[in-house]
């Protein structure tokens, strides 16, 4: 069984729903019309572009192309992490902490899954490698961004208490232990929650796609379980690495809290 191809007319029908929604927004003066139009246009253009790129990649399987595309994905994720920080860490280091921790966790876990678990030949077969890396990066990115934002924001707000603990002779690691724990939890909660409710509340997107594409539900479920575990591991290790990186950057060798390493609030993001 093959997936039924969608014609432009089918998509246009779906788009007409958005036009209706836009009209409603105008009527109720929600001011969402413009944002809606831009977002819909972006999703169309970006996905069509990605489709073309994937078509090319699938036609020309080569490890060089795969490396290139994965680096582009990583760079985009790294930029997104910086944008989601209320008070980001200054300079190259801030970028490196987020991007580096995503790199070590997502790429290692993806590689492990491709080589050891899936075992397709060659291991970089794009039909497997790209969706897998994409899902891992996307979720790790959320965890890293949430965790780092929580860490820097809490350190900023509780600087007086942290310095009091330092004054009493605690090490930086002791003084920041509670905040570190909270930040890592904040980064990991979404994936833990979605593992706990998977299948009950919503069918995960990848599984839905696979079933629509004609796979047997059981095969789809097995892949979904694999993906959930990989995502959870990737997010967890990535978040822990990022939080430890932030901690190293915001305390110096003399156990001083160095908030001067942070940008002022909202410089890199305006939400």
């Amino acid at each position: 069984m093959n997936v039924k191809p969608l014609s432009p007319l089918d998509l246009a029908l779906a788009a007409s729903l958005l036009v209706l929604l836009g009209a409603l927004s105008w009527r109720l003066q929600l001011g969402l019309g413009k944002q809606l139009a831009i977002a819909a246009a972006r999703t169309t253009v970006q996905l069509l572009l990605v489709g073309q790129i994937l078509r090319l990649l699938f036609a020309h399987v080569h490890i060089g192309y795969m490396l290139l595309i994965s680096m582009v994905m990583l760079a985009a994720a790294g930029r997104e992490v910086m944008e989601r920080q209320h008070r980001s860490i200054r300079g190259f280091h801030g970028w490196l902490i987020g991007t580096g921790s995503m790199f070590i966790s997502s790429f290692t876990v993806t590689l492990l899954a491709l080589v050891v678990i899936i075992g397709k030949v060659p291991w970089y077969t794009p039909q497997y490698a790209i969706p897998l890396l994409g899902m891992l990066l996307g979720n790790t990115m959320s965890g890293v961004a949430l965790g780092m934002d929580r860490m820097t924001e809490t350190l900023w707000q509780q600087r007086r208490i942290i310095e009091q603990r330092l004054l009493l002779g605690q090490t930086a690691s002791q003084a920041v232990a509670d905040i570190r724990r909270q930040a890592i939890r904040a980064g990991m909660m979404p994936i833990i929650n979605s593992m706990a409710t998977a299948g009950l509340v919503s069918l995960p997107g990848m599984m839905t796609g696979q079933i629509l594409g004609g796979s047997s539900p059981l095969d789809a479920v097995h892949y979904q379980i694999l993906i959930m575990f990989l995502i959870c591991a990737g997010t967890g290790f990535g978040t822990v690495a990022a939080i430890l990186g932030v901690e190293r950057k915001l305390f110096d060798a003399r156990h001083r809290l160095r908030l001067d390493a942070l940008h002022a609030a909202g410089i890199s993001a305006d939400y």
């Binding site: 007086r160 208490i161 310095e163 009091q164 330092l166 009493l168 090490t171 110096d252 001083r256």
Partner: protein
């Protein structure tokens, strides 16, 4: 008998500061607010990036880990910090807290189970002093230690701190807005001008 020696201490484009406080001596520090008195205490506690040599007795600040230096120099910040639910949780071992010290500042052992969220500013201030002295610092850096206390308690806290310094032979640097207080507790006084310069402000009996 530790002396506190500060040589060419520079931080935040301030300094160099050099001063020496002998063991058991209390030096008062006054000056307009915003002149940087608290910054000087922070720098001596090594909370801010700085250069220069600092020595307390045979402890050199750069030769030991920063947490150990901070335990030794014992700084009391103007506003104390509390991060757990109960008072007693902030002490390594509340059982060994000196009951006389608790009584002097108006508490007994039951304070151990008090909620931090219910403490007044003055109670926090007095408990912060108990917490600091419990660590047996070899020096005291006091930033407005009696700022939120009423008259009777001010006298008791002054007496407690001066007695601690005398019996343990520790050097004290005492920041206060109140020249009368500094005249009571300190042997000599320094004044920090608004540009951060330190000048001698006279002995105990001058105003």
């Amino acid at each position: 008998m530790p002396d506190l020696e500060i040589e060419h201490l520079c931080f935040h484009n301030r300094g160099p500061y050099s001063l020496r406080i002998t063991s058991g001596e209390c030096v008062g520090l006054q000056g307009a607010s915003g002149a940087g008195k608290s910054l000087l205490l922070r720098a001596i506690a090594d909370l801010d990036p700085r250069t220069g040599r600092m020595q307390l007795g045979d402890i050199n600040a750069d030769a030991v880990a920063a947490p150990m230096w901070r335990r030794a120099v014992g700084m009391l910040p103007a506003e104390s910090g509390w991060w757990l639910d109960l008072v007693g949780d902030h002490f390594a071992n509340f059982d060994t807290v000196d009951a006389d010290i608790l009584a002097t500042v108006g508490f007994d052992r039951s304070v151990r189970g008090w909620q931090i969220s219910r403490l007044s500013t003055g109670e926090k201030q007095r408990l912060a002093i108990v917490r600091l002295l419990h660590q047996q610092p070899q020096c005291l850096l006091l930033d407005e230690p009696t700022a939120s206390l009423d008259q009777e308690l001010v006298a008791r806290v002054e007496d407690l701190l001066v007695t601690y310094a005398k019996t343990h032979f520790v050097p004290v640097l005492w920041v206060s807005h109140d020249p009368a207080q500094l005249a009571r507790v300190s042997g000599r006084r320094l004044c920090m001008a608004s540009d951060g310069l330190l000048v001698a402000a006279g002995g105990p009996n001058e105003r």
